[in-house]
């Protein structure tokens, strides 16, 4: 495949960035959540 490196790189960057961002949200939220009572979270 021509330019395989570029093609794989673009997919890795795409899903890697989304994954890293998702993990970041979850980790930060876990940190904050220890201070917030569970029944104040309307989505639960």
């Amino acid at each position: 495949m021509d330019d395989a490196g570029f093609i794989f790189a673009s997919y890795i960057i795409t899903f890697g960035a989304v994954g890293a961002y998702a993990l970041g949200i979850i980790r930060r939220a876990r940190k904050s959540s220890r201070e917030v009572p569970r029944d104040e979270r309307p989505w639960l």
Partner: protein, 259 residues
């Protein structure tokens, strides 16, 4: 990642119940499946292009990224308008606006990077200042600025009002970016699917893969938006509770947990 298990507080939710719900977990499973299918179709199954060869495969990440970034910025605009319109001045609208802008910046960044790689293969250059690339760069920078303005401090209502006005101005850039390829001579090609013609000039399997990409990116957007919106809500509650950040650190210390 390891701290939640050792926290004995009953206020602390099970680790998967912080911002997640059964809905978002189901959504996550669908996203992983769709992602796998997109990678298989995009990289291996779909055909190479007559002129561009294999490089056309980058399109399946680049185009959905750009479209969903537009959508995210439009959602930011709409929820900012809803915040200003409703008498209640609900901060939920403000947090949806902020979360959506953040996801939009992420997707726009993905689109810029993948587009740059695609450009290196087909045009022969990573970057050039044609109207499409320039207006896109401006849009990207504008929303980074929007996120910075959200972080300037003040009360939550001050933050919401300030950023809502900015969001309503910033969303006006989107038509300029989208139509830049028609208004001016650009190196960037015109839109194939959302262009002025009714004919879509694209091979069937390529088009299917592109729409799969759009579907996967849409689901990723929804997942990220829900989670980010909730984590912003947690942060706001934390501010409201009057506890300063040192408390978190002190409690962690008292329990012998690093971080």
């Amino acid at each position: 990642m390891t701290t939640t298990d050792t926290n004995t507080s009953t206020n602390s939710s099970p680790r998967d119940r912080v911002t997640g719900t059964p809905f978002t977990r189901g959504l996550g499973v669908v996203i992983l499946a769709g992602m796998t299918l997109l990678i298989i179709l995009g990289i291996f199954v779909s055909p190479a292009d007559v002129n561009q060869g294999e490089s056309v495969r980058i399109m399946y990440a680049h185009v959905p990224g750009a479209w969903l970034a537009y959508l995210a910025f439009v959602v930011t605009g709409i929820s900012s308008a809803a915040y200003l319109w409703k008498r209640t001045r609900s901060l939920t609208w403000d947090r949806i606006a902020g979360a959506s802008a953040e996801v939009g910046v992420l997707f726009m960044g993905i689109s810029l990077v993948t587009g740059s790689l695609w450009g290196r293969i087909t045009w022969g250059t990573y970057w050039t200042w044609d109207a499409r690339l320039t207006t896109t760069a401006f849009l990207f920078v504008t929303y980074i600025g929007y996120l910075a303005v959200r972080g300037l401090g003040g009360t939550h209502q001050q933050r919401a009002r300030r950023s809502a006005v900015l969001a309503l101005l910033a969303v006006l850039e989107i038509p300029l970016v989208h139509f830049s390829v028609q208004l001016w001579n650009t190196l960037h090609q015109e839109a194939s699917v959302a262009g002025r013609g009714t004919d879509v000039e694209m091979d069937g399997l390529m088009l299917f893969t592109l729409f799969l990409g759009v579907a996967v990116f849409t689901l990723m957007y929804v997942w990220l938006l829900l989670h980010r919106q909730r984590s912003l809500a947690l942060d706001d509650m934390l501010d409201d509770s009057g506890l300063d950040n040192a408390l978190t650190a002190r409690r962690a210390e008292a329990q012998g947990v690093a971080r």
